[in-house]
C-alpha cells in the first residue's frame, strides 16, 4: 500500500507543491480585492499569513513521523514545504512592518526587545531565516550532511517559539493555538518515541 502510494507520489513534480502552497495566498488576495475581509482587513491579512506559515511549518514537521509510522515518503517535498512556510513568514513580518506598524522603525525596535510575543516571533523568524538560506543542495555539500542536519534541528525550537508567539499575543487562553501547540508537541514526541520506521529492526551494528 505504502509502496504503491510512494510510486504515485514520485510522479508529482515539486513545483506542484509550490502551486498548492500558493493557494492560501491566492484566497487571501481574492478576499482583499473583493472586500471579503470585513471592516478591519489589516489584522486578518497579518493573522492569516502568520497562521498559514505555521501550518506549513507543521506540515514540514509531519513528513518524518509520517514516514516512520506509515512508510509513506513525502521527503521529496519537505524542502518545498519548509520554504513555502518561510515565504508566508516573510509576508507575515512584512505585513506587520508595513500595515500594522506603518514603518515606525523606532517603535518596532523597542517593541521587539520588550514584548515577549514579539521576542518569540522574531527569534523564530531569525532561526527560520537560517534554515531557509541553507535549504539548497550547495549548502548541504558545503556544510556536510551531519553539520547541515545539526543546523536544521533548529526547526524544533523555531516551531515552539512560533506557537508561543501566537499564544502570548492573545489576551486569553484560546483553545485553537493551544490545540496547535499540542499537535506540535505530538509531532516532536513521535520523533523520540519512534526513532525509525515501524517494523524495521535496529541495524545489527547498533545492537548490544
Amino acid at each position: 500500500m505504502a509502496q504503491q502510494l510512494n510510486q504515485y507520489l514520485r510522479r508529482i513534480p515539486v513545483w506542484a507543491v509550490w502551486l498548492a502552497g500558493a493557494i492560501p495566498l491566492g484566497l487571501l488576495l481574492w478576499d482583499i480585492f473583493t472586500g471579503g475581509l470585513g471592516v478591519e482587513p489589516v489584522r486578518d491579512i497579518e493573522h492569516r499569513l502568520g497562521r498559514t506559515a505555521l501550518y506549513f511549518l507543521i506540515a514540514t514537521l509531519a513528513v518524518t513521523p509520517l514516514l516512520r509510522i506509515t512508510r509513506i515518503s513525502l521527503m521529496r517535498f519537505r524542502r518545498a514545504l519548509g520554504l513555502i512556510s518561510f515565504s508566508y513568514a516573510v509576508l507575515h513580518v512584512a505585513s506587520w512592518i508595513s500595515m500594522e506598524m506603518g514603518f515606525l522603525w523606532a517603535q518596532m525596535l523597542t517593541d521587539v526587545v520588550k514584548r515577549p510575543y514579539l521576542i518569540f516571533g522574531m527569534s523564530a523568524f531569525v532561526l527560520l531565516l537560517a534554515l531557509a538560506v541553507t535549504s539548497n543542495d550547495l549548502s548541504i555539500r558545503r556544510m556536510g550532511g551531519a553539520g547541515w542536519r545539526r543546523l536544521h534541528k533548529l526547526v524544533y525550537p523555531a516551531v515552539l517559539l512560533v506557537s508561543m508567539h501566537w499564544i502570548w499575543a492573545l489576551k486569553l487562553w484560546e483553545p485553537k493555538p493551544l490545540a496547535i501547540l499540542g499537535a506540535i508537541l505530538l509531532l516532536l514526541a513521535v520523533r523520540i518515541v519512534i526513532p525509525r520506521p515501524l517494523g524495521l529492526k535496529k541495524p545489527r551494528a547498533l545492537q548490544n
Partner: protein
C-alpha cells in the same frame, strides 16, 4: 405609566411627517422587519469634530466576549439578546435604590449626541457618535449618599442568549468600576444609541457606559446593575491580570501594556497602508480630565 422602547414612535413615522397618510403601511412594514426606532440627541460641545467611523465599522469590529472572542463574533451572535424589557438595578449608597427602565435613566428629551474617540487597549481606535445621557444625571436622579466613593457596574449574565458565557473565559458577570469623581465627570455617559438608532446589541444594548479617556474595556456594555459603594469595586480584567489591566486604565502613551506599546494606535478604517497615529494622553481628553488625577503616579495607578 412607564414608557418602553416598544412605545417609541417608529423611525419610519417620525422621519417623514408628511408621509403621515402612509404611516400605517410603513408601520406594518417596519414590524415585519423588526421595529426600527430612531433616536436623536442634542449636539454637545464635548463632541470631537473628527470624522466618525461608519456604522458598519462600529458594529462589525467589537470586543464583547459574552458573544465570542473574535472581533466579528458579537455582530454574528448578539442578535439573540433580548433587550426589551430591560431593567437596571441601582443600589448601594443611594437614596432611591430600585429597578429602573432604560427610559427612566435616559429619557428621550435628555439625550445628547456625543462624538467620542474610543481607544482600545489593543492599540486600535475609532470615532463613535454615541447618543446618551451624562452618568452624573443618572446618579443625581437616584441620589448619591455622601459615603459613596466608587460606582460598580455589572453586565447581564444570560448564557442562553450570550453564547460566550458558556465558557468561563472570564469570571462572569463582567464587572467594571469608576471612582465617584470620574463617574460624575461630564464626559462619562450612559449611551443608549449610536448614530440615530438605538444601540445595536453588539455595541452593548440597551444601555452601556462610555468613558472616553479610558481604554475601551472600562466602558462596560449591557449594564444591569449599578452599585454605589465605599470601596473599590472588583473589575473583571483587572482581577484576571492585574499587571496588565489597572483599575484606572486611563489611555496613556507613556505607560505600556506589558505586551504591547501604547505609544501609537491604528485607526480602524484607515485602509491597508493608513499607518499609525500617535496616542494622546487621556485619549485626547487631558484638558478636561487630567485634574482628576493630580498628584497621582500614573505609572503605578495605571
Amino acid at each position: 405609566m412607564k414608557l418602553n422602547w416598544s412605545d417609541v414612535t417608529p423611525k419610519a413615522d417620525f422621519l417623514n411627517r408628511r408621509s403621515f397618510m402612509t404611516a400605517g403601511a410603513a408601520l406594518g412594514a417596519s414590524l415585519i422587519g423588526g421595529p426600527s426606532l430612531a433616536l436623536s440627541g442634542k449636539a454637545s460641545a464635548l463632541s470631537t469634530d473628527e470624522k466618525p467611523n461608519s456604522l458598519e465599522e462600529i458594529t462589525n469590529y467589537n470586543n464583547f466576549y459574552e458573544f465570542g472572542t473574535g472581533k466579528e463574533d458579537p455582530a454574528r451572535n448578539a442578535g439573540s439578546l433580548t433587550t426589551d424589557p430591560w431593567s437596571v438595578e441601582i443600589g448601594g449608597l443611594v437614596d432611591r435604590p430600585g429597578s429602573y427602565s432604560v427610559a427612566d435613566l435616559a429619557p428621550e428629551n435628555a439625550l445628547e449626541e456625543r462624538i467620542y474617540r474610543l481607544r482600545c487597549v489593543e492599540a486600535w481606535s475609532m470615532v463613535i457618535p454615541w447618543i446618551g445621557v451624562p452618568l452624573a444625571s443618572v446618579l443625581q436622579k437616584v441620589g448619591v449618599q455622601p459615603g459613596a466613593k466608587f460606582v460598580a457596574f455589572e453586565t447581564l449574565v444570560r448564557p442562553e442568549e450570550m453564547p460566550g458565557q458558556k465558557r468561563a473565559i472570564l469570571d462572569w458577570p463582567y464587572r467594571e468600576g469608576l471612582r465617584i469623581d470620574e463617574a460624575m465627570h461630564p464626559l462619562a455617559i450612559l449611551a443608549t444609541g449610536l448614530y440615530s438608532d438605538p444601540l445595536p446589541n453588539q455595541n452593548g444594548a440597551p444601555i452601556r457606559l462610555v468613558v472616553p479617556w479610558k481604554y475601551g474595556f472600562k466602558s462596560i456594555k449591557s449594564v444591569v446593575r449599578i452599585t454605589l459603594t465605599d470601596r473599590r469595586p472588583a473589575c473583571t480584567w483587572q482581577d484576571l491580570q492585574p499587571s496588565e489591566y489597572g483599575f484606572y486604565a486611563n489611555v496613556n502613551p507613556e505607560v505600556d501594556h506589558p505586551r504591547w506599546s501604547q505609544a501609537s494606535e491604528r485607526r480602524i478604517g484607515a485602509g491597508l497602508f493608513g499607518g499609525r497615529q500617535e496616542t494622546l494622553m487621556f485619549n485626547g481628553y487631558a484638558d478636561q480630565v487630567a485634574s482628576l488625577y493630580a498628584g497621582m503616579d500614573l505609572a503605578k495607578n495605571y
